[in-house]
């Protein structure tokens, strides 16, 4: 499904501030895989997503989606097949447009855009039905401005927008981190439901160890731009939060040693 071959990316190359954000990353996802990604700040998780989504061109390597090389494809063209959610609930929706206009925008994905009406009666019914799936009572508020919804509501609608035309790949960048625990739980549950129903290949960044093991079928840990741990199958089933934390700490302590060496 998704294949990364020796993908590398550096920021500020050739300066004292050079940072190698991705180093020869190899990663292959099978169709229907739901991978959770953990790692400290600056480990390269978001950079990995940006590389896949096409926010920048990578320095070396290849990215293949469904067997097609997308390494040099522009971001908005990749977006036809890749859905993405950010940590910021405000990032994924247009605040000054109504809920139905936002959904209509998302629904345009992959459809030829032209002079057809942006909103029609048939779509409205469909949007109403889709919104009622969220169970937030938004189906009666189609004409409400998006900016008036709470963060949790907006993130739920963004999730719906990203999957209203099921993408080949869904990227979730800590999409519940900015929500209160109750809402976060609801959005996670919704994510699980939609991903399972539409068999969407998914990658999810999370800082919640519990969640990283509970959700999905595979967990990878990143550190210093590399994938340092890839858990799946029985090994993953046997893994506990404590075990994962120990592994996590082992890696960060190793870094700490490096720092101490540098400083001494």
């Amino acid at each position: 499904m998704l294949e990364l071959r020796k993908v590398s990316k550096s920021f500020f190359p050739g300066t004292p501030n050079e940072r190698r954000a991705l180093v020869d990353v190899d990663l292959t996802l099978a169709p229907g895989d739901f991978v959770t990604i953990i790692g400290g700040n600056g480990a390269g998780k978001s950079t990995l997503f940006n590389a896949v989504a096409g926010n920048f061109l990578i320095d070396a390597g290849n990215i293949l989606l469904d067997g097609k090389n997308i390494t040099f494809l522009r971001d908005y063209k990749r977006a036809r097949q890749i859905g993405r959610l950010f940590q910021d609930p405000l990032a994924g929706t247009a605040p000054n447009m109504t809920i139905e206009e936002n959904l209509a925008m998302a629904y345009l994905r992959g459809i030829k855009k032209g002079v057809s009406l942006g909103l029609n009666k048939k779509d409205e019914e469909f949007f109403r039905e889709k919104l009622s799936e969220l169970g937030l009572g938004l189906e009666d508020r189609l004409k409400t401005k998006m900016g008036l919804l709470s963060g949790g509501q907006r993130q739920a609608v963004t999730l719906m927008m990203a999957t209203i035309v099921p993408p080949k790949l869904l990227l979730l960048d800590e999409h519940t981190a900015a929500l209160d625990p109750g809402t976060a739980e609801k959005v996670s549950e919704l994510t699980r439901k939609i991903v399972e129903r539409d068999h969407i290949t998914t990658m999810m960044i999370t800082h919640n160890m519990q969640q990283s093991l509970e959700m999905g079928n595979r967990t990878i840990m990143m550190d210093e731009g590399r994938i340092v741990l890839d858990l799946k199958g029985e090994e993953r089933a046997g893994m506990t939060v404590d075990g994962l934390l120990a592994l996590f700490r082992a890696h960060s302590e190793k870094e700490g040693d490096n720092d101490r060496l540098l400083l001494s």
Binding site: A53, R74, D75, Y76, K77, A79, R80, G83, R84, A91, G92, T93, A94, P95, N96, M97, E101, N102, A104, M105, A106, L108, R109, G110, K113, G114, V115, S116, L117, G118, L119, K145, M161, A162
Partner: protein, 298 residues
């Protein structure tokens, strides 16, 4: 002010409303402060005058619209493909257009249309003729805009001004939307310039100076008085704002004020309108702090 002067003000207001509608598209919908307008207005006037003089007034209007569209495209190209900030891109386009406009007018700073027919000639005998022509054109443009913003492309342009990241992740090329939006905005400005040239029977090199601010003032006046958060309502508000602006203009002129002073007034109107929220916030904060100080004292 006489009824005759009022009618003239409304006629001008209807024609200048097209500039305000253009700014509605670029500044309000796309959220881009587009300074190309100063140049594309004169360009429209120049092209219209030259073609009216040499060929036919309708041809003049048609080419004025096309020329405005092209000016918008140049500005969009600078902003999107060459990544120049919108304000600077507008200034560059406007400055470049000055030379082009002079070329179009054959090196003269004014082209006169005294002995040729214009689009207003057929109705010049009727008492409300010019008003009707201007009204028809502006209403048609309004109708077009209302319908256009209901299409999926129109929806995409609106969303581009609201949250560009979201639009790109909906697999829509936001650069293309900016090309379309700025092209449309400046085509409207070109149309306005083209009509003004034929209305006043002359095109002047300096006719576009300060047009951005005049357009913005009209837009803001209209929104403040008639605006509602819906696209059709706002489009109507913008047209009414432009008419009110022209009536104020005529009134001030009748009082013997210099016409050149009105640009300063326009600038002040725009400044006040845009800074209004900041000023009221400061005032509220000031009041809160005063009360808090009183509480502490007691």
């Amino acid at each position: 002010m006489t009824l005759f002067a009022l009618q003239g003000a409304v006629e001008l207001g209807l024609i200048y409303a097209l500039v305000a509608l253009g700014l509605f598209v670029s500044y309000r919908v796309l959220d881009i402060p587009d300074l190309t307008v100063d140049g594309s207005f004169t360009l429209g006037a120049a092209v219209s005058a030259v073609f009216t003089d040499a060929a036919h007034p309708y041809l003049g209007i048609l080419f004025a619209v096309a020329a405005g569209w092209c000016a918008g495209m140049v500005s969009a190209f600078l902003q999107t493909k060459l990544k120049i900030q919108p304000i600077l891109a507008g200034i560059l386009a406007m400055t470049g257009l000055y030379s082009i406009n002079l070329r179009v007018m054959g090196g003269r700073s004014m082209v006169s249309l005294l002995r040729v027919d214009t689009v207003f000639s057929p109705v010049s005998g009727l008492p409300l003729g010019k008003l009707l022509v201007a009204l028809c054109v502006t209403l048609l443009v309004c109708l077009f805009l209302v319908l256009f913003f209901r299409t999926s492309t129109g929806l995409c342009i609106r969303a581009t001004g609201d949250n560009e990241t979201m639009v790109r992740s909906s697999s829509i090329n936001t650069d293309r939307m900016k090309f379309l939006g700025l092209g449309l905005a400046n085509a409207l400005v070109g149309l306005s310039g083209g009509l003004i040239a034929q209305y006043q029977n002359s095109a002047d090199m300096n006719t576009g100076v300060g047009m951005v601010v005049i357009g913005l003032a009209s837009l803001i006046i209209g929104e403040a008085i008639f605006g509602k958060p819906s696209v059709p309502r706002n489009i109507l508000a913008v047209v009414l704002g432009a008419i009110i602006y022209r009536i104020i203009y005529a009134f001030v002129m009748a009082r013997g004020m210099a016409a050149s002073d009105l640009k300063l007034i326009s600038a002040v109107i725009v400044t006040l309108a845009i800074s209004y929220p900041v000023v009221t916030d400061r005032y509220r904060l000031h009041k809160l702090m005063k009360e808090a100080a009183k509480d502490v004292g007691a």
